[in-house]
Symmetry: D2
Subunit: 366 residues, 4 copies
Amino acid sequence: MEFERLSSIPTRTPRRFNSKQNGSKVNVALVGLGYWGPNLLRALFELPDVEVSYICDLDPDRLERFGRRYPSARPTRDFENLLADPHVDAVIIATPVFSHFGLASRALQSGKHVFVEKPLASTSAEAGELLELADSMDRAIMCGHTFLYSPAVREVKRIIQSGDLGEIYFISSSRVNLGLHQRDVSVVWDLGPHDFSILLYWMDEMPEWVGAVGRDSVVKGIPDVAFIDLGFPSGALSHIELSWLAPSKLRRTVVVGSQKMVVYDDSSSEPVRVFDSGVEYEDPETFGQYQLSYRTGDILSPKLDTTEPIITELTDFVQGVRQGVAPAGNPTLARNVVHLIEAAESSIEERGVPVQIDSPVAHTAR
Amino acid sequence: MEFERLSSIPTRTPRRFNSKQNGSKVNVALVGLGYWGPNLLRALFELPDVEVSYICDLDPDRLERFGRRYPSARPTRDFENLLADPHVDAVIIATPVFSHFGLASRALQSGKHVFVEKPLASTSAEAGELLELADSMDRAIMCGHTFLYSPAVREVKRIIQSGDLGEIYFISSSRVNLGLHQRDVSVVWDLGPHDFSILLYWMDEMPEWVGAVGRDSVVKGIPDVAFIDLGFPSGALSHIELSWLAPSKLRRTVVVGSQKMVVYDDSSSEPVRVFDSGVEYEDPETFGQYQLSYRTGDILSPKLDTTEPIITELTDFVQGVRQGVAPAGNPTLARNVVHLIEAAESSIEERGVPVQIDSPVAHTAR
Amino acid sequence: MEFERLSSIPTRTPRRFNSKQNGSKVNVALVGLGYWGPNLLRALFELPDVEVSYICDLDPDRLERFGRRYPSARPTRDFENLLADPHVDAVIIATPVFSHFGLASRALQSGKHVFVEKPLASTSAEAGELLELADSMDRAIMCGHTFLYSPAVREVKRIIQSGDLGEIYFISSSRVNLGLHQRDVSVVWDLGPHDFSILLYWMDEMPEWVGAVGRDSVVKGIPDVAFIDLGFPSGALSHIELSWLAPSKLRRTVVVGSQKMVVYDDSSSEPVRVFDSGVEYEDPETFGQYQLSYRTGDILSPKLDTTEPIITELTDFVQGVRQGVAPAGNPTLARNVVHLIEAAESSIEERGVPVQIDSPVAHTAR
Amino acid sequence: MEFERLSSIPTRTPRRFNSKQNGSKVNVALVGLGYWGPNLLRALFELPDVEVSYICDLDPDRLERFGRRYPSARPTRDFENLLADPHVDAVIIATPVFSHFGLASRALQSGKHVFVEKPLASTSAEAGELLELADSMDRAIMCGHTFLYSPAVREVKRIIQSGDLGEIYFISSSRVNLGLHQRDVSVVWDLGPHDFSILLYWMDEMPEWVGAVGRDSVVKGIPDVAFIDLGFPSGALSHIELSWLAPSKLRRTVVVGSQKMVVYDDSSSEPVRVFDSGVEYEDPETFGQYQLSYRTGDILSPKLDTTEPIITELTDFVQGVRQGVAPAGNPTLARNVVHLIEAAESSIEERGVPVQIDSPVAHTAR
């Protein structure tokens, strides 16, 4: 019943693993060359201690195209090929969501460490199974929640942890733009993982309930807009607007605390802005009326470092492979993200009736 | 069960009324000199065919201050005084919400026409009673939903009515700023009337259900942030974010249609922007897959006229007094706004479970 | 040849004056009820220790209108009337520029303290005469450079004085909008006083030269756009764009220093923004190449106080009247502003050839 | 004395050239792999009818790096190598400015068509010589003024040509950001070519005079900020602010016409905005005063096509090579850009005294 607090896990406990000795390169295979795979591929080639030995896709054209660009990586259409190669330490999976569970579990069973693009799996049950499998096979499993490596997201996390914001009253977020509709999954599965992962990272607690409404405006059966509310045990409320239908791109999250407020806007040249604003509440002494006073102070846009999130993320995975364990908290968080997507989808189907999140971490024995 | 369509009421049917003959001035009394009253007072003095004969407030200081500024208006603390004066045609009420019903019904019973600031009353039952009373007394009752006289809001209405937007998929709105907490009512009662009235005006239909969550962050028992969803019979979805806790003022409404999209931003120098953007959906011929294509075109900020809404609004009321009937649709809309506030508050109390709007216009016989 | 440094004048030296004893109200007459006069009037009525005894204008309609609004002020069309009244301590002049010298010198000669709207006079010679006259009559003369009382302008002054910006490299300013063309004077006379006064206040030195080009786009003979460059003894360069022809209002000044940069934008909700950005220059040790490194750091929008500049300004004048001397530096600055306007106009006539500012402060013995 | 009007040259007159027969690929060599060269290289590889046979740079590291990325292009440090190869049709030069003349004239003398990055040469005399040499050798010379292929710049050109703006009153432009200082040339040589080329393209006339002031704030002798004014025969005025020292990137050009105004902002998501705003001037009938009225109307952000300028530009060059002549107007415009840079630099040295542009096109016989 406890939510594994991301920030409270101080050190990683290395275990016995088959991973490479220090010094040698980590050998990886990339599976899936669609929308996101090529970004991972490019980034992997920028890492000094990684060797990409295979690229795998069902589409021969893509295989040929990327094979030409990266001649040192062996192209293959057969996933079993790379699993059978004992030199391959880890498999990076960037295929459509429905295939994540099948591919990842096969890879784990074959003794590979696994990196899966978000969301981790199509159901939280499958996500939980993957975590258990990784555990029993003593292999690392990590999900590509890249935003957790964004300097802006980490700066907000730092500010929250510092206590500067005071109590978090609520977090309101909009993630909208025109397109790109997914054919098989709703906007909640497509864009939700970003906000859910950021929320879990910042709040370090699992919501108690999720309510959501949505509409399948363009393609029947596939919601392309959703308004999601989440309630946290601490009392914090959160609202997320997701949409593939919008006149202009918007990525804006407001964190309202009792002491300060933060605006995180990914598409701005100043992605984090800290407002020294708040309301002071003065309790009436005896029977008098309470007093409110509003405080607006300086606004600060802190300088952020400019590391590329995908590079930091993959570096973290590679280090995890060496140490034989995924970055602390990541697998649980990834599983919980799937849980929240499921809950939001359920609530949408029930036209907004909130869904209780009963036992968010039942599957995590680790 | 029918929703009285604002736009479908072509002409006003004048009835027998005690109102003044054409040519002479309409004689009004203003009640309430708090936050909004002085604005009404200033505007009333700018109208050529209005005479303000009384200003009324319980606070002697305010009475004295405004008495000095407007020496032609008689100051009084006694509401009955002005009701007793047969020269007074109409009473303008700008007092706290809880007193609206009492004052307005007394004024109607005394044969006065009545203008009440928004929201019309504290409950939809009271609002309905006021409508019935006005009807039985043959007097006009109008609620000060000033935004319906904003050139920007009317331009969006015009665009929607023209059909240019196609089907309305959804409307998403944010109305937030730091302060000012009301002592007795929630942010839904304070800011909700703006968005609810605009929505009803634009959509010309009453929602079927309302779901909302909120939080009383600062003062226990008084929600200062609320996230509200509404579902319309046409299929349109709407979302409204209301808050007294925000790092900066935001008034932004996005209307997403199947053909075009509109952004209405009250605090911008270009309050209406029309985006010629959309998604084309092509049905598969037989068993093939559907095709989506995205279209982004010109963006237009139409020139808006610069009339001051409060002036147009009061002119409309004065004209109504002359004709013996309130502007078409206004009382019903005002009553329905109260109904939506009640529904949103109920849903907040039930932690987000949506509330059905059964018989939105049961009380409107007219 | 010396420029009287505004910031280096530590205290005011009170002289013998006819002004009122402490405690009693300062008695003023306002002359000119056109565009700006009513603002001054409204503000004067908000000051607790001021009594407006006269309002004066040639237009009977205006006199009547404002006479009704402010019945305690005597309306008059005859300037000599109020000069003759021994109870009048000070005259506030808000008439067209060409009349400033005549009215102000008459008032000074009559023993009144004088507040003149900007610019102080039509020529720097006349401006100098006014200063001398005030000096010889032992009366205060002050020019209404309201921007010097703007909290944002003063915050930038504070930052500059603190040395945080390092050396001031250059200051670039745009002050443009659509309208309002003046009938008798160019955009330099109309908008220039704002920027010139701010520059002199910030830089605390008089430019050595002024170059300018302009165009009389709409009305022949009256430039409606001007691009002005100024060179300061410290090496600082300044550029000012002034225009009555612009698609949208812009008031933006950038101060680039060697250590930090400041953006002052009067029309923004964050009028002052401090950028911790700069370029580090490293001298080559021997014959090697120099090194440059760019630094971009935090951005800060400091909280500004919200006092209304016109109130602070008039309070300063009233205090000056009591003490018998204008706020330190103000008259000289006002005279120098006229000097800069003249120089810019000369340069425009010579199609951009820069004009040397020979002896900027020859007239200021004080 | 005539300025070759870009828009008035209707068709290209093909001449006898050694260029390839239609159908076969144009064979090019790229010289210079510094800042911009790699962009050209990447774009050249995307063109279907181009073969890059050589890449040339003095730095062996760069040669090796890009050699690995583009194995089909032969790397060489010796410029003469590629000139000697008869298969090479054209040479693309992206080296520092000082070397443009030497390399381009050698290439022309060797019978190659030449594409030179902007600015064309270090002096207008050299630029003129290159044009003459290309003429006498019957080879195409083109300068890489990429902005002339930007969809936004072309849309503004289209609007100007349509006459919708009326008379062009003035054009005001800012192109500033923090960095990157050039070691050998001023900000005028670095950023000026962008604005000068755009101005010449839009205005289709050469300025009569140029005035400029600047400052070498950081590195002595190398101005890093410049304010430039230009006067056109049509009466249009233009102002350009260039700087490597700015708190934030700004690329904003305002074109003010008698009928409409346009804002072109390269860094905005709406790069072109057309304001239907203006001033109407009504001449007095007899001795009365003129009347001015201000008009503000719709604002339109036209949809722009999304072609990449560098691709269109190189396609134009390749087509020019096939036809044996550079895109009409380009060489003259490029030469005139150098002329304007020289004039601006002269004026800066003379502290702002404007420089007359005597015979802007003396060198262009063609």
